[in-house]
Symmetry: C3
Subunit: 400 residues, 3 copies
């Protein structure tokens, strides 16, 4: 066979269509099993993959999100009325915003020397010999001067330290919690952008005018209002507001966008969820607090008011998922579905050959054995070889 012949053969063969030869088993039991598995696989694909998981869609799960927050409300504190500038930190209105609910204030601290707190290890002393000069205790507030001094107006003595005086543990004044803060509102503006689908959505409906300033969010009655009462947030997070006022806490505000752009984009509205993020109530350090200071200058000397603030930190966390029909995932998943149907044959073949094929009537017809030892086949041999193979099959058993 020369090159020209080979090429001709190859070229002719190239346009031939090959299809597997199939044995049709007219067995009702097997047929029912086969079709049942078939149905199961088809149902799985149609219902779970295509309807529930929307596999015919291109999806995007990490949208670009922008959050802007602003707190509103005024609170009575003894004689004074404080506004949000006093209570909200940081002031820039990003996705993490905290409001102070209770303060422990230490006024007029300045650099100097004063008595260490008595609870600090080895701080209690009777004479200067008990205090090592220059020592810095890890649990203490400063560097020891080496002197033993009376603990403020008390009769016992502690080691003197160099630090901001007076020390917070002694001088801090505990303010009552801001229970009115339950009615504070936080305005949350969230804009979301799905770059793949070029869709931009916000959680605020336009053309609402002054309505936005007056409404408060409620899942049932006012789901499009972006003002959230702190009391509502605490309640949804299943936390006691009075308790939060005492210890502080971190609450997650989850904004969930689940959008199907095969439908009208106006259906793409967010849902909100609230959950406490810093749980583990039995921890000694549970809750949320931080310290900061306000600085003053008097006669050229720097003073500060140290503030230990307990409050609610709101972490606004945005999740987004969008889908839209696309031809490529549809094809891929349909191909996967069709090839997965092949699994039915595997199961049924196993049933067929193991349980039903008692007299090897099926295996004989399914399997056609060709031995290595077969002599080169000639026209005359074909019938004999073929039968011989089946014969040897019978005497040897099923070859699986």
């Amino acid at each position: 066979m020369g090159f020209r012949d080979f090429f001709k053969t190859f070229f002719l063969g190239f346009w031939d269509y090959e299809t597997p030869k199939v044995m049709v088993v007219k067995n009702r039991t097997l047929g029912i099993i086969y079709r049942s598995i078939h149905l199961l696989v088809t149902t799985y694909f149609i219902w779970y993959v295509f309807i529930s998981q929307k596999a015919y869609q291109d999806s995007e799960t990490r949208p670009e999100s922008s959050v802007y927050t602003k707190m509103r409300g005024t609170a009575l504190l003894g004689d004074t009325v404080q506004d949000m500038v006093e209570y909200v930190r940081p002031s820039e209105g990003g996705d993490v915003i905290s409001t102070i609910l209770r303060k422990e204030l230490t006024y007029n601290q300045r650099q100097g020397v004063c008595a260490e707190h008595f609870s600090v290890p080895s701080a209690n002393c009777t004479s200067d010999l008990d205090c090592t000069e220059g020592e810095v205790n890890f649990d203490g507030q400063g560097q020891r001067t080496g002197r033993c001094v009376p603990y403020y107006n008390y009769t016992f003595k502690t080691c003197e330290i160099r630090t901001w005086c007076p020390i917070e543990e002694f001088a801090a004044i505990r303010e009552p919690p801001l229970k009115e803060a339950i009615n504070f509102t936080v305005y949350i503006k969230n804009t979301i952008h799905f770059p793949t689908f070029k869709v931009l959505r916000g959680n605020i409906k336009p053309n609402r005018g002054r309505y936005l300033n007056r409404c408060t969010y409620n899942e049932e009655t006012d789901p499009y209002c972006p003002n959230f009462r702190l009391g509502y947030i605490a309640e949804q997070a299943r936390e006691n507001f009075t308790e939060l006022c005492e210890t502080g806490g971190v609450i997650g505000v989850f904004i969930n966008w689940n959008c199907d752009f095969d439908m009208d984009p106006s259906n793409c509205v967010p849902t909100y969820a609230f959950r406490r993020l810093d749980v583990r109530k039995n921890l000694p350090s549970s809750g949320y607090n931080y310290r900061f200071a306000k600085y003053y200058s008097r006669n050229g000397k720097e003073f500060r008011t140290l503030i230990k603030a307990f409050g609610i930190r709101l972490d606004v966390i945005v999740h987004g998922h969008a889908g839209k029909f696309s031809i490529i995932p549809t094809i891929i998943n349909m191909v996967t579905a069709l090839t997965s149907v092949g699994i039915c044959s595997l199961i049924c073949d196993w049933i067929l050959l193991t349980f039903i094929d008692k007299n090897e009537v099926y295996s004989e017809r399914k399997f056609d054995e060709v031995s290595e030892e077969s002599p080169p086949v000639t026209m005359a041999d074909i019938t004999l070889t073929s039968y011989g193979s089946i014969h040897s099959d019978l005497s040897e058993g099923v070859a699986l």
Copy 2:
């Protein structure tokens, strides 16, 4: 057949190779259809999956990113010149940085009593009877004292409130916008790390020296400079800078890393995009503003300067995608490609049996029916059974 025989048979059968029997259909039309679908599937895999989607690569889409930002520029404001310390908040230079473009200042506020703003509902009064002591109006600034007082220097009266006095609505001084801010620059340093590939890249080319302090970014002329003019950012985001000065706004700075580590890593450079994030211009509360205060102490009394700041907030958002050749995804996708070719047979079989198989010449050869009722096969029966089956096939019709 004893256990030893069974084992021998199984062991011999285990090393047999099974391959499906195939019917070759010498039909030009079908062959062309078959090869066309074949070509389509192959093209799809080679072009889309392997070339366009780079399925032969291991990919990583969530790199570790670090952003450091710093603003530069000085601005004239009446008689004074202000620097960035006055205008940039927060000062720590994270991935969210805002610059103040316009201020509304309320100087010398202190805790006290003063007249409520006349726009607050039920704040206008003629006598003390109109004002309820202790009432806190949600839209108001403080707690009513129960007295009706003249509204600052005006002739009409409003209810007196306890709050920071004077109230912002009355006393705020509106500064002109900082139009020079159009030339402020923001230096953005972004370092990115792909843990899977152990590659670390930055958006700044090393060994540039003082060049970095002088250049400004421009997509065409200077794409490696990390200093971005605010005017350029606003322009790229298609916003009017003068308008931004009035209302403020949030602009996203998108840094996009799309890296192919099969090529030289020096090709892995970021692209920048800018887009306004807080759109919906028709909202009453559009734009970006926040309030903060500077605190002073005079004669032991605390004063504050309340600042309502309108500005541009830049949110630096980093996206990253990197790929590198890996043997496992290559194999998986090649196997998927090869099994997907099976779809061609499904389509062609359907065409074959429905449209071409007019005289059932193909289905007879493709399908070999075996009935449950077939008697146990003996050597002698084979030829007859086989032909009989085909015969019954002919009289019954295609069994699909």
Copy 3:
């Protein structure tokens, strides 16, 4: 064949089971190749897909995370002892926290006029003619007044500018670095929530009491303590702490949760890693620094202390991955595994037909050619057609 017949045929055919006819090749070489590839594919799936990649699990990679940080420690600075309120910014304790390690302070700045720094281009002058009134140099600190004045106490002159005076370059006092900061600790509380599995975990073991205040983290000796020494962090990030004190730097604290919820959830504990994020040491602007100011009022005039702070910024980055057995991915991956076995046949068929099939003994039996030109099959024709087909096959060569 009427409709009733067709329906009957279809209905009967629907319950038939079709299974491919198979040729069993009794060739030891091919059998070994076949089983080896088989083994390879099976091993790959069992070991890599199921054991290593845990493909039988539903997985979740983007847990909700909440981070709360707090620094502790006191530092000696000359005569004074400073606490964390002075050194940590921002104070709110989010996932980005920075501690100041070195300060350059410019005291008592106020709005006014003073000499420009001599390094600014064209700032050196001999007479007023050299200074253009109203000019704002990009590298300079303010607006030129048009006068040429002596540079503070020096003999040479520079242009006068309107700005915060004195200028930082002249008046800044460089404080020594806070080397004691190596013993500062940062308390990192991280709570993580996998919404799919409804599992909430924290990095702190409950019921530890005061232990939490005293311990410091060490990978070997104390892996459950959430207090990290800055010195330990720097060491793990392979950075020199003394160098960091000089230039500052950004260090990533990576908290890695890798949880298998098929096991006891108490095994789900995080691992920590530390890495410098702002590398590229040869950059002129490497390191981490920022400027902020403290404001004072004296006789109604505003003063500020400008602080250029060099420090360590810790970016806490949380990665999470959790898996749990689920029936759907298990089925999908098993189906994929079983269909992938089909690849073995493709390879062996190619070997069989190319290398082993010398006398076309196999191809004759595998392929059954049917020509378009075949006359309608009748009972009488079958034997002949069949053999004729094989015969033509022999003379034409393999049709693949």
